[in-house]
Symmetry: C2
């Protein structure tokens, strides 16, 4: 028997939303939440539940609008610099400060600049005033009973001031919708539990997963105006899940279960929700996020979100966000959108709406959208994303360079100030990103790791501002120059030295197999992990293999390719391989032993128009910043003596 127990539907997105709304309607519909009256000082960002009408006028009396003397305007006629008029203090003129009530029978103020004190009882004025001049009449700002703030408005600081000015110390606002977030899964452990156990010397076990989706979902709920309760993880038992949902129903407006929404043996969410209410949708034709459940439980909207973090966040955005705004009587604010050119071909299955996370940056005037890893388990793809491109279900994908609409997740100004690095990965680039951020120079370094050759091709396509490269020319023994000349013959490229860095074997701690040269790779029992074709490390390896006459086919694992130094180190750490070629920093980072073999030259290839641009100016300066240089040296295996030196290639 197969262990699949449910058939997941493939509802189109709009149909799924309609079915969800209909189920909510059947269960009694969405009622506006009750309201609460709170002090103004706590009301920023809250939504008015009723209109605020002015209880008093502001000012509530005729007030002097200048420092000077209050007068009857008629008594000032004819006063000028050359023929001042004399007024008796007390009867004809009264000193007032700004904000003072106008004395009876006065209707204007002569500014202090136009008043000369003659003696204790007399002043002279050098200017006439019109009736009501320099007076703030009663109600100039607010007239009692007028509308100050309509209902359904998110309160800004200035609104709070106006409400106070209109005579209120409190304001009646809508209650925030309460959302219960129930993580499910026997394998889940909370970050706090992990920290406590590790402090006690007990490491996490394989199969255990840190429960972090509820942090993401709770934060999103709060951004959308709700109040989230993060409940403790519920093990995969139907009775426990049912009890958790039932208890949460009592004092929440919306129930979110994460996950157990798929069709595996331990996915109970649909069963329990069907029992407590109704499952309106189980399975939506979207990617990621397919196995989502939409329904009601105990009359409350209930959502079963998939377990992968990207799927959970995306489905919350699609189904929970509009619901929370509706509960507050609001429509969700539309996100800004931009049109961008997609940097590479994207295939997408017919019949599914696909949501692709992309980074964005402007290169040569074109806004470039570079797709991030599509795995729904890669939370870093959400962290790095600047926007989300939607590929509709009637499309099979996008050609490289074609235009795509991208919904922005980041401020457009930040995107305009992004430096795009595509090429070989290096920890010194991570550090550069951090130091640029720290310097507050208003630049963000976004880096994609596709190897050195991939970086130069990105420069060819004008998809990046710079490429990190360490490509050995097997004939000249020189680094980078010949590659740049061949691949970018029409571009004026500057090669900027970043560092010399050691490349060598990454091996288990203590080097148990005693590996010390390339020849050791063909020893029986040695499993190698390689870098991808086109990467500088791979070219370095192949060059030296040829020099030493070693047949790559004789190296076990030569076909297994990883895309970063760190992934190679991780493969060695996990025991999946015994040895890889990489940089010393990666070995040190994961506690591996490093056997240096070669020193190589890591440079940044930068078209001159970018290198001299305003955008890159903070990066230029940073290469000479002693703080940054020592941070790179502290990684180990780096020599920064020539950092920032330029070689003009063409």
């Amino acid at each position: 028997m197969s262990r699949r127990r449910y058939y997941l539907e493939d509802r189109a997105l709009d149909e799924a939303i309609a079915r969800f709304e209909a189920a909510i309607e059947r269960a009694g519909g969405i009622h506006p939440l009750d309201s609460e009256t709170i002090p103004l000082a706590e009301a920023r960002g809250r939504i008015t539940a009723v209109p605020v009408w002015a209880a008093r006028s502001a000012p509530h009396y005729h007030a002097a609008a200048m420092d000077g003397i209050a007068v009857r305007a008629a008594a000032t006629t004819g006063a000028t610099e050359s023929s001042p008029l004399t007024l008796a203090l007390g009867s004809q003129a009264v000193w007032v400060d700004t904000g003072d009530p106008m004395p009876p029978d006065t209707d204007a103020v002569v500014m202090a600049e136009h008043v000369q004190t003659l003696d204790d009882a007399t002043v002279a004025i050098t200017a006439a005033v019109a009736p009501w001049q320099h007076v703030r009449p009663l109600g100039e700002d607010i007239v009692a009973t007028e509308l100050v703030i309509p209902e359904g408005v998110p309160l800004r600081p200035v609104d709070l001031g106006a409400i106070a000015a209109a005579g209120h110390a409190t304001v009646t606002v809508r209650r925030r919708p309460r959302v219960a977030i129930i993580p499910t899964g026997t394998e889940l452990v909370t970050p706090e539990a992990v920290a406590a156990r590790e402090a006690a010397g007990q490491p996490m076990r394989a199969g255990e997963i840190i429960e972090f989706n509820s942090l993401i979902l709770a934060g999103m709920v709060e951004e959308w105006g709700g109040q989230a309760t993060r409940l403790p993880p519920v093990p995969d038992r139907q009775d426990l899940l049912r009890a958790a949902i039932t208890s949460a129903m009592a004092d929440h407006d919306v129930i979110v279960i994460n996950a157990g929404s798929s069709a595996g043996a331990e996915d109970y969410t649909a069963t329990v929700l069907a029992d407590l209410g109704e499952v309106a949708v189980h399975g939506v034709a979207i990617r990621p996020g397919h196995p989502v459940i939409l329904g009601v439980a105990g009359g409350k909207p209930a959502l079963g979100l998939p377990g992968y973090p990207v799927s959970a966040a995306l489905t919350a955005d699609l189904f929970l966000r509009p619901l929370l705004y509706r509960l507050q009587g609001l429509t969700p604010p539309p996100r800004p959108q931009v049109t961008a050119a997609i940097s590479r071909k994207l295939l997408s299955p017919l019949g599914e709406d696909e949501f692709v996370r992309v980074t964005l940056g402007r290169v040569d005037g074109r806004l470039i959208a570079a797709p991030l890893m599509r795995g729904a388990g890669v939370v870093m793809s959400l962290v790095r994303a600047d926007g989300v491109a939607r590929i509709p279900r009637f499309s099979e994908g996008l050609h490289a360079g074609s235009e795509v609409m991208v919904e922005l997740l980041r401020d457009p100004a930040e995107i305009e100030s992004t430096i795009i690095a595509i090429g070989s990965h290096d920890l010194a680039l991570d550090l550069l990103a951090n130091h640029l951020r720290r310097a507050g120079a208003g630049r963000r370094l976004s880096s994609a790791n596709v190897g050195s050759l991939g970086g130069l091709m990105a420069l060819q396509r004008r998809d990046a501002h710079l490429a990190g490269v360490h490509l050995l020319d097997e004939e000249t023994g020189e680094y980078n120059i010949s590659y740049v000349r061949r691949l970018l013959p029409d571009e004026e490229i500057v090669l900027v030295h970043l560092a010399y860095r050691d490349q060598g074997f990454l091996v288990a701690p203590g080097n148990p197999l005693g590996l010390s040269s390339l020849r050791d790779l063909v020893r029986p029992g040695v499993r190698f992990v390689n870098r991808q074709r086109g990467s500088g490390t791979r070219i370095l390896l192949d060059y030296h293999l040829r020099q030493e006459g070693i047949d790559p086919g004789a190296i076990a694992g030569y076909q297994r390719e990883e895309f970063t130094h760190m992934a190679v180190a991780a493969a060695v750490q996990s025991g999946a391989a015994n040895v890889g070629l990489g940089i010393g920093a990666a070995a040190r980072a994961l506690g591996l032993t490093f056997i240096p073999l070669f020193s190589e030259c890591y440079e940044l290839a930068i078209p001159r128009r970018h290198w001299e641009s305003e955008l890159l100016a903070p990066l230029r300066r940073m290469l000479f910043d002693p703080t940054y240089r020592s941070a790179v040296e502290a990684l180990g295996g780096y020599n920064v003596a020539r950092m920032g030196e330029e070689v003009r290639v063409s």
Copy 2:
């Protein structure tokens, strides 16, 4: 002797900022705030103080990425739908759920869909898999030691998830800058004190002012990432102000004093700041906000902001906002800007940067910026403002229709969905604005009160979508039609009936002077308050005065013009006048007696292309909404029987 004691400077804005920064530098400069380590669940919106490096990989083991059986890929070669391969459970195949660790010696997962259970010990597979297929290798998402979040980043929900996934339960963030807000002024009373006193039957006295600026300033400080302390108002005494500042210096990073920054007799802020530190600037050539003080006290930046709410908010935005971002190591995010056509001529003094609050809306494709009241005391001008236009100090102003850059205070989408009403004011329009907001229809009604004729001229200029009008044709006795035909001969205009409403005398409670007809206005001792020329009420008055042969010159107060019904009512309530002509609702609102004299027809004049537009659709529907109609009737003096009826004029 004059009571002016200080000479206010006229520093140019950029010079003022430079002097302020230099003074802060002399006092020791801005040091990054210390950091604090807090639980992830409390860290949304906080700024990372140090980079977050991954403490563990995610996943931290090779994990199944599908439900199915874990296998060695090599053992599946050749399996297809038509020639399945048989595998022994336990030795060759192990059932796994998504997320399970891969059993030893397996390197791929065959999806459950491609597995048939033959018996307890054997399965058949109908598809081959490649090495590492359907496996999430160790570190696929995050590799231990890699950079997860740089420092200086405001944490979003997804960042919190990634930090947890990377093995942390806490995060180190920058402390929020602490800002003390010290209101000064003997005349100030807190909203809470007013509420308490009124509950005890003690009304506010003339000369007292509700202290609400600190609510605005505190809200702004919080929006900018700071933590505000609102201190109790300090009376105008130098020793008390000095004590308040000294005490606040001890545990705050920035001191804000509001106000006492001008040059009046009781303006001690500059004296005290000079004594406790340095006054770098006293007076900036900006409008509003001229008398601002920038300096340091006890080594901390100290700002004396002017007392008028608009000045206080504007100067906080200019001088405090960049400071708070700097204290957090950030640059203030630029506000979005738009280019708009200014709706009327604006004069602006040479030598001052002027900041004009405007409302914005799109009419016939043009974005129109309509200036709001310029008085710095009018907090409602900030509430209503959609943006701020800056008129540089080298300009003498703007011609009507000329282009101006506007910094947005509101979401652009909200501006695009704004219906602009310019014309005669009516409480039924306030209610319409509120009901549109409440209906959640995504429309905002922005209304400017310039009288009926002003409204028709706004339609002429294409500055508005509709105009509220009640213009009596003195020859035909009909309302509105002839005016519209004359003023808008080339436009197809629809007159939409809103309500019949009573116009009559607004008099003191009980009508002490016994006024009952227009002829009573010329009685000795009767002081009238008029509406502005062009307003429907004024035309109605003048028509009936002529009909009855009454000389306007014989009416005391005929020259005193107010711009709204409510302002007329307020003048009567305050005793500044005995009687005005207006609508019943205004009388009732301020507790006046209403003597109905005439019934008039209040209509909305709307170009047909707007009336039938998508933008106005929710407004069209609202006119037939029973809730809205009864709300208007409840105002009193309204007849809504014909609401929504259309008259085609041309």
